[in-house]
């Protein structure tokens, strides 16, 4: 076990953790363990490695990849993993300390963001810093799978041929979705290829499929309680400049927003939420990565045509 190679300075806390992990763990399997940070990457890793390894995804469904944290037991598991797969590019803020600790402990790591051509945020306070949300472009995920497959195949106890075969098939599936998305978006008139949104994750999708991302202040509930024309001015001009009929936004009161736009500015639009940073739970509509891509594609095309 890896525990034997830990530096002696790692203190009693670590030993206690290890003991508690052993005591609690019921899996007792001999398969190698791959620990994955985000649920999107967790799904991709499971598709590629299949039954050859036990995949432990740390981030729950419907969660926030930036801020989710792990239990002491999960952190211990991470340090003992045969591979730790993370998104990187600053995404896992709540987890970074444990990721660093696992690396220090010698757990091999794979950072997906290092396998892709990274875009910087175009504007806002984060302008110029790397955008970690590469998964909105399935082409970027192909790059990740092609870099990841040999690493998974090289884990001791994994049948490399099985992983290579599964990776090839998953890349084909990603290519298929990428083509479906292109075909679907092709039906959107050129002059309406704009995402007016408060989602911040669609830079990669926009780059691949030639959308303009128009950031807009989406008035919140306190504003919509008693709105004025000036509250909606920024959003209205974004809608009018782009000619879109849908705004892609997370809002706790989308109906109120639609109503306020109609009443105050005589603008008729739909407010459509998209899946942004997390897979959903069962029945949520984005149970796996490919389903998430397809769901967003249908919503974007539906909203803009």
């Amino acid at each position: 076990m890896r525990a034997a190679t830990r530096p002696p300075g790692a203190l009693a806390v670590v030993l206690l953790l290890a003991a508690s992990t052993t005591a609690c763990s019921q899996t007792g399997e001999d398969r190698p363990t791959v620990v994955v940070s985000t649920n999107i990457l967790g799904d991709v890793v499971e598709e590629v490695v299949g039954p050859e390894a036990e995949v432990v995804t740390l981030m729950p469904a419907d969660a926030d990849p930036h801020s989710f944290e792990v239990s002491a037991r999960e952190a211990a598991r991470m340090r003992a993993a045969d591979l730790v797969v993370s998104n990187g590019l600053g995404l896992e803020e709540g987890l970074q300390r444990q990721l660093d600790a696992a690396e220090l402990d010698g757990a091999p790591g794979f950072v997906a963001g290092e396998a892709v051509d990274v875009l910087d945020y175009a504007d806002g306070d984060a302008a110029g810093t790397p955008d970690p949300h590469f998964w909105t472009d399935p082409g970027r995920m192909v790059d990740v799978v092609e870099a990841l497959a040999p690493v998974l195949a090289g884990i001791e106890g994994v049948d490399a041929a099985v992983v290579e075969d599964r990776a090839e098939r998953y890349v084909e599936a990603l290519d298929d979705v990428a083509s479906e998305m292109a075909a679907s978006f092709a039906s959107i008139p050129d002059e309406r290829r704009a995402l007016v949104t408060n989602h911040h994750v669609f830079g990669y999708l926009a780059e691949r499929y030639d959308f303009e991302v128009v950031g807009a202040v989406i008035p919140g509930g306190t504003t919509l309680a008693s709105p004025s024309v000036s509250d909606l001015a920024g959003l209205v001009s974004a809608i009018e400049d782009t000619g879109v009929r849908a705004v892609f936004a997370e809002s706790s009161s989308p109906d109120r927003l639609v109503q306020a736009l109609a009443d105050e500015a005589d603008v008729e639009v739909d407010v459509v939420p998209l899946f942004s940073e997390s897979l959903s739970g069962p029945g949520g509509g984005a149970e796996d990565y490919l389903t998430m891509l397809r769901a967003n594609t249908a919503r974007i095309t539906g909203g803009l045509t």
Binding site: A61, V70, A225, S226, S230
Partner: protein
Amino acid sequence: MNLPLPPLSRGTRAMAAVTLLAPALLACGGAPSGPDPAGGSPAEDPGGDDHGAVEGARELDEPALGLTTVDPGGRVRHLDLLSEDTTDLARLPGTGAASTVHTDGRFLYVQGREGLQILDSGVWTWDHVDHFHYYRAEPREVGAVPGGSTSTVATTTSSTSGGAGVFFTDSGEAAMLDVASLADGETAERYRLETEPHDGMLVPVGDHALLTRAGAGPGSERSTADRVVVLDAGGEPVPGAEHACRRASGTIATRVGTVVGCADGALLATVTDGEVEVVRIPVPQGGRARGAAPATSFAGRDGRPTVAGLAGPRGRDGVWLLDTREQAWRLLDVSVPLTQVTAVDDEDEHVLGLTPDGRVVVIDGTDGRLLARTRPLAARSMASGTGTPTLVVDQQRAYLSAPAERRVHEIDFADGGRISRTFPTATVPALLAGTGR
């Protein structure tokens, strides 16, 4: 470091954080680890104890904006600005009215005669710079921090991690609270120091901190600080890291860095690769700014880079805007006296002020022009000195408490200072803090 400092005596509470780990280690059987806020566990959290997310908290589509008030009897109430419901949060123990309240947008630090009480409003925002995430958990009382009857509290832009510095100005005791422990319902202290009583502060900067030191040199005033030292994560002075800061007063954390006001400008502290870097932003000396009084407190929209402060009593010399990103001051010539000022830092650079007759004025932050003024909303409070009328600003709305009038007003500053909503309060809202931010 060879400095004529009184020794920093250290408490034993630093160990508290370590012992907190213990319960988590035992929690492998499926029982929730740590104190569980009743009803706070979200139904959609599939992992129970084992999966992190943010334990006991639910993520929201938009911020759970609220206002928390403290009345003279110590009753703390929370007004939900979305549902417009009011809930009782706590009844503070002890006698005597609370004198100040500080918030980081989540935790409330209420100073009473017998010490500092900390409450968790249960609503907060996580600032990722490129975007935000919003959370709601159960509100609760966290606990008391002993040490004095007057304090300055300094917090960071994060209400889930890092430290919160409490400086008891009457006793000189300074405690660095562990914010993650507050989220767990405990008031663990990372360290506690005894210093000269003075008008000082202990300001968290990453895992480090800035601590003011009382004036010691010839001719300096002992009641105010004349310098700031950098402390490491354990509360020990970092050798050589000392910065002159005469009459240190006022601190605020923006997403760029942490500001401490001095008589001749401001210090801006940032953390790069675990090291604290402190730069001095001197106030301009030429033109209209010649001889203008320095800002002694700072206010702005939560986390925004530009903050505002009054230049002299009642803004006699105008309003200072400090842009922490550009590291630059700007002095606005404002035509009315003000008792309070805050920066919205929106596209139109709105600045809001409170006049001595209880009106909110909307100021153009580019040139100091008065864009709008409300009717007197807190005239009686201002005239009678009832409570502390307080301005809180969001991106599109501002709030003003009017204690004697028993009202909280919502102001649409971009629409001519229109009063968009008014909330009556059951008792005198002596103190006000904006939460969920």
